[in-house]
Amino acid sequence: MQVACHEISLAYRVRGKRLEALSDVSFRVAEHEFVCVLGPSGCGKTTLLKILAGLLQPQRGRVDFVGRPGNNPLTAMVFQDHGLFPWMTVLQNVTFGLEMRGVGRDEREGRAFPLLERAGLSRFTRNYPHELSIGMKQRAGLLRAFVTDPEVLLMDEPFASLDAQTKLVLQDELLRMLGDVPRPVVYVTHDIDEAILLGDRIIVLTARPGRVQGEFRVTFPRPRTLAVMHTPAFADLKGLIWRQLEEAVRSVARQ
């Protein structure tokens, strides 16, 4: 299955004024492709992801899930700041998506426990989110999406609020969890390093309203490790992307 966005546009109404968030955004994500959407703050990255998740409807354009009858795939979204429910235990949070899809309790737990074990959370299944560290919360947020085995995985800057070291550890874990990227992944970030480390392709958006400004292919082989960040090719690609992104970032800073 592929994800195809056709000329997506959306504007918000803020205090009576029209605020254009996205304008004619088009791109495709292939079946086994990990696409990072990179752009400055406020360029509509999260809005784009919410449209892909079905949480928002674009005012113009459409999203097609090519090769999926019904155009209604099982998506799972990983949210900024984990989005765990404070009133649910780790296990209840992780299995929430399965529960909403009508999966029985035994099967839910059977699918969740191996993942919790791998993520080092098996001792904390009965704990509440406030009893976990920030990194553990984010891991639980990732597991909630992974355990549903979604056809499309959507990730909204999941590591943005983490400290640099925890971020690196979780990026490394994510690379291992994804393996050979068996599904389309759309990952929104404003971090160039993260986009190059994780993505097969990077789509750069302009400052608001977000438009596709350019695309970069990342050719580092998978499975990748953090070591790729120290290669000259990584630095070269980062320089290229920054040159394209710089004007958008500066225009946001001027606002």
């Binding site: 900024q80 704990n127 509440y128 009893e131």
Partner: protein, 283 residues
Amino acid sequence: MNATDRLAKAGLADTPDEAAAETPFAESERPGRESWLGLLLPVSLLLLWEVTARAGWLTQLFFPAPSVVVQTLIRLMASGELPRHLGISLQRIGQGFLLGAIPGLVLGLTMGWIRPVRLLLDPLISAFFTVPRLALFPLLMMIFGVGEASKIVIIAIGVFFPTLINSVAGVRAIHEVHFEVARSYGARPWSIFTRVVLPGSLPLIFAGLRLSLGLALLLVIGIEFISARTGLGAFLWFAWETFKTEHVYVGMLVAALLGAGIAAVLRLAEHWLLPWSEGLFHR
């Protein structure tokens, strides 16, 4: 074992700020060691009162010694007079509370969750909310008579508003991302209600119930002053009319203990039902 200990034991306290955040609380706010400080002043005042009353420095007519009040309390309890009044007041509070809290909760959750319902009802609720509850009592007596019904209805009205307003606030305090998470995983409206709206609003609902029960106690005493022969308020009023000062003190003491008891039961229920809510207020 607290969260930090659990993390440390598992070697998984991977963000040191977690441990750091809890250390100052653990060291400087240990409730066990310092709780005696809160008792120091009341106990000292009671002792001072006892000594000065026995020495005859206080007028016994207005300030009987605490020991005399306690003896009167024991006697009234043993005779069954006080339990009878207390039971009747509790029954009125219970019936009025259920009659007011259940509709307040249902309507509050609906208003909090469904914006058009909130927009429709908010002006009406705001207008009625400002009317002092006791000012409604004469009208209620005209409609429902001087029997039990008017008393229960006034308590129900008193309970209804704080429960409703806190339920609305409870739903509105739920972060939008939790609704988005639920919707993104395909939750249907009933699941959103049971898994997000209801549990997410419970901390503020409990705050509303605490307020409501405090108000119910206030109202039951007030209306029993005015139009009852039984109940804690009637007992207090009769004590005043017959100038039995010890009975007045006993009535006030029992009313205070009743309020504290209700608050304690609610705190226990909250602790049991909402173990997660502690995390909301510690950071």
